[in-house]
Amino acid sequence: MELLKIEDVSLKKGNAQILNKVNLSLGMGEVHAVIGPNGAGKSSLSYVLMGLEGYNDHEGRIYLEGKDITGYSVTERAKAGLTMGWQEPARFEGISVEQYLGISLKNAQDYSRNGRKILQHTVSEALEKVALSPQKYLKRSVDKSLSGGERKRVELASILLMRPRVVILDEPDSGIDTLAIEKIFEIIEEFKQLGIGILLITHSNKILSIADRASLLCSGHIIKTGSPSEAADYYTDQCLSCIDERYPREVAE
């Protein structure tokens, strides 16, 4: 069953066509990567899917587990089982890591296997999963005293606790050190085991390697969907000369 289906989604801002008839789907436990150059529309696509302010005036439909969520608010989408990890997670003055993670716990989705409920992680376990010590971090604020990488890991822990049906991860490795990237792989693997669908926006070949499928987005168009290597090869072989004329080269190393 398709968990997420995006049908002919187009977005225009002023005279600029940001997304142009984007069609995409995501199955249970599937990792679908979206790659493409800067300005291709990757982040805009994630904002449209999450229903963020300024991205609701689009054409096309969005379905989550067969239900049309196109007109849903951000909260309604979250309650339906869709969430997102931001490329640059927000800072929250005076909100502790424990309080922040508590929100996800409260709104977590239930998962069962063979008729038995799969137990939820505790807040401390979720922090350990992202290689942060609960003793050291639970009482700290999710503010500028945490580095970008630490906030990113706290955000991943919050998604882990929420256990959505579908998660959009926008550049999950940015600002994360090499050791912690292994933890991200483990978390994505755990999502897959639960059957959570993952829409992965990335520039990194290493992250791309864990995807089941990949779509190449350019100037708001999906121009290729296939295996991660097919999409990456197409990008390298067909797109770079075109992109080089307009953008500095920034393909995944």
């Binding site: 951000v74 309650k79 909100i95």
Partner: protein, 312 residues
């Protein structure tokens, strides 16, 4: 219920711990209107309260070298709907002494209450004084609070003050704190106020870094809703060599509220440095949408962000 019990109740309602009034190891002072309802001292602490026509004049001395381990609890308030309370407070923390105060100012039924605080705080060499003040003004908005404090800080002294008004109506608040620092002294002033209705919140925090290596941080956190107005004026003057200061103001406005911040940075020594940051506007959209993407509705997310700002 007698007058003291009434005050203890409103003190507890405002987040205070009335059991400390029975603890012989904890110093306290309870003032209602112009009456001193209770006072308890610990060794090394002298408190001399004198009732005046409209309030109380109180002199507090922490003797040289004395370090008071547990916070001194103070409770000021006016329980009736109307009243005037003028507190004249003179505090001296002598050389090498240290004390901290947990103060609650409670006006739970105020319709027309004025609370005026004129304070002078003198810190000796190496003295430390922390003053944490929490206000509860009730829901009528009928309170006028005018605290004015002059702080004179000796070498290597440390002063921390936090003014909190996280819940209820602010009414009219006009804060004026002014600190003068000698060499190696450090001051931190933090104000956190929540206003709505037609509340008017005026804050002036000033620090003059006179001595070399003196340090100062002035921080304001204001959340305004309805037709509330906030006016923050933070001034840091750096005169001493290698003195360092920072001014930091964040104001969140909602509905028809208005906010203004004027950070004044006045540096008069080439080796001194003062920085400032100010952010005024609605609730940050990315913060809001992040919490909504975890399942909170917009109102819950806004409340969490505002309370984090005010209570964190």
């Amino acid at each position: 219920m007698n007058h003291f019990e009434q005050m203890a109740k409103v003190y507890a309602d405002a987040g205070g711990q009335p059991e400390v009034f029975k603890d012989s190891d904890v110093a306290h002072l309870v003032i209602s209107g112009n009456k001193v309802l209770g006072a308890h001292l610990v060794p090394g602490l002298r408190v001399d309260p004198r009732e005046t026509k409209d309030g109380v004049a109180v002199k507090i001395v922490v003797e040289e070298g004395v370090k008071i381990a547990r916070p001194i609890h103070m409770c000021f308030g006016v329980v009736p709907e109307e009243g005037l309370q003028k507190i004249d407070m003179h505090v001296e923390v002598l050389d090498g002494a240290s004390a901290s105060v947990s103060a609650h100012c409670v006006f739970p039924n105020a319709v027309k209450v004025t609370h005026i605080m004129d304070a002078e705080i003198i810190l000796g060499k190496g003295a430390e004084y922390k003053y944490n003040e929490t206000h509860f003004h009730g829901m009528n908005g009928g309170v006028k609070v005018v605290p004015k404090t002059k702080i004179i800080m000796g070498e290597y002294s440390y002063f921390y003050t936090e003014f909190n008004l996280p819940r209820g109506r602010a009414g009219y608040v006009d804060i004026d704190y002014d600190a003068e620092l000698d060499a190696h002294a450090t001051v931190e002033m933090i104000t956190k106020v929540n206003g709505y209705g037609d509340d008017l919140i005026k804050i002036r925090e000033a620090g003059t870094l006179k001595g070399e290596n003196s340090r100062g941080v002035l921080k304001s956190r204001i959340a305004l809703k309805g037709n509330a107005v906030g006016d923050v004026y933070n001034e840091m003057i750096a005169l001493g060599a290698k003195s360092r200061g920072h001014v930091d103001c964040t104001e969140i406005i909602m509905e028809n509220a208005r906010a203004k911040a004027v950070p004044v940075v006045d540096v008069r020594h080439p080796e001194a440095q003062v920085t400032h940051e100010a952010a005024i506007g609605g609730v940050n959209r990315t913060q809001l949408e992040t919490l909504m993407a975890r399942g909170l509705d917009e109102e819950e997310a806004t409340e969490m962000i505002v309370q984090g700002l005010l209570q964190g």
